[in-house]
């Protein structure tokens, strides 16, 4: 299935500089991991923030299609921001961070979530043994890598069709990065979703991406998939230098 986004347009202007992101059309294949690459200021993060609803598109004709079906909902994608602290509440416990994301309409479950949602929460926490052990520990007491993993798994509970990682892996160590990339692929397959990763790391992209989309000066300029004969570091570097 294909997720298609049309008419993305956003301008930032001030007395020092101006920037315009203009993407008439872009497509993501579900079940795959796609990397977004480009130099700093090319518009990758702005693009993610528009499709996650964090920024408003300047033109009101933004259209999102999942397959043939047009989606009206703004903020279709769920974004993971670079710092763990921007995705989770550090002063709450691990379990409480899962609770705030839990969707329930029952008043009693909202009032006493720890008691009435215990089974559902245990299931959510079971995604990672570590979370079960640390369930009642404040998140601020976890290490940076553990906080990143927690942020990933919590955001993954949304089951969003577009899962967006905005330079999220740049702050993790190698072992955590590899784990989260494995989990990203698993998420894409299990949820028939598209995982979109913004990264500057060519090696990681070559090893893990099904496809790379290139941004330059606010425009989406080209794409390349991992079956391409030029799928190598030298060629990618030459594109990114342009």
């Amino acid at each position: 299935m294909v997720i298609e986004i049309r008419n993305i347009y956003k301008t930032f202007a001030n007395s020092y500089s101006d920037f315009t992101l203009n993407i008439p059309n872009i497509r993501f294949q579900t079940g795959l991991v796609t990397f977004l690459m480009g130099h700093n200021g090319s518009g990758k993060s702005v693009f993610l923030k528009i499709i996650s609803g964090e920024y408003q598109n300047d033109k009101n004709n933004l259209e999102i299609f999942i397959g043939e079906k047009q989606v009206k909902k703004i903020g279709l994608g769920r974004i993971l921001r670079q710092k763990a602290s921007e995705n989770i509440a550090l002063e709450l416990t691990v379990k409480e961070n899962f609770i705030i994301h839990y969707k329930t309409k029952k008043f009693i479950e909202k009032l006493f979530p720890s008691t009435y949602l215990n089974n559902s929460l245990s299931k959510m926490l079971s995604s990672n043994k570590f979370f079960i052990q640390k369930a009642n520990q404040p998140v601020k007491e976890l290490s940076g890598g553990q906080q990143q993993s927690l942020a990933f798994f919590i955001t993954a509970t949304s089951k969003s069709k577009l899962f967006l990682l905005d330079e999220f892996l740049s702050a993790t160590d190698l072992a955590t990065t590899n784990d989260l990339l494995k989990e990203s692929r698993k998420y894409a397959k299990e949820n028939d979703a598209s995982v979109v990763i913004v990264s500057h790391d060519i090696d990681i992209a070559l090893e893990n991406a099904d496809k790379i989309l290139f941004f330059s000066d606010g425009e989406y300029v080209r794409e390349m998939d991992n079956k391409n004969e030029n799928w190598n570091k030298k060629y990618l570097k030459s594109i990114l230098r342009k």
Binding site: E54, N87, I88, I100, K110, K140
Partner: protein, 293 residues
Amino acid sequence: MLDFTLLLILNEGLVFGLFALGVYLSFQWMKFPDLTPDGSFIIGPIVFVKFSMLGFPMFFSIFAGIFAGFILGSITAILNKILKIPSIISGLIVSSASFSIGWIILNKPNQYLESNSEFFNSSMLSNSYSLFFLLLVIVLIVIFLFQVFGKSIWGLRLRAIGENQFLSKDLLISEKLYFIVGLGLSNSIVALSGILFIQRSYSVDINMGIGQTITGLIAMILGLILSSKSLKIWVTVSLIILGAIIHKALILFTLELGLPAESFRLVSAFLIIILFFFMKKVDDNFLKGLRWS
């Protein structure tokens, strides 16, 4: 029988303990440096007295006073979240306006309590005992409500978006609504403490709120130092109440040492400087994440 001085300290401490819980809700849970309590501490009792004088039933008048505090807190949130006025300035605007609003409502700057505004109509000693037991019951109820609300999905979300501004978008909830209700609740508690305060002072005065937020902060910081890293909400809020009692006892002690009565604000100012020093040792991040804008 409790010593009368001790009774006075306990009553004053419990009243300002409630005040401090309002400050705790805004400063610690919502990370909002709210100065509205200076205003809601006077508007709550003034509205209560006015409604009582107009002949409304006592319970209705109390509710009206508490609701007036809620409105003030909500206005501060609206100024900040909708009109984008910085948080400190929003609170200052509302607390400053409260001075005039209180005067307009009362039609004069102060008012002695009439019998229909007094909870208890007996001798001062007997009143103090009755007030003590009433305060104890109210404080226990408020601690219980803090515990339940703080662990409910709404309370957890309020605490989460207070700390992390991005989370309201992730959770698809309205930050504006949460802050309007959150600051409304914190100032409702402060308004209630004002209504209880005038049961001890037997009068309401438009000046009685000036600088009281500092008093609440002292009790809050004392409570946080005492509770250290406790995760239990009921423990922390109980210790904030204890902090308020300790603060009032210290003030009385310094007066007993011979310092003039007008120096108690100065004593409080020195105390808060010392407490900040200790607090930094307990929690290095204390008040770091406050939202100033």
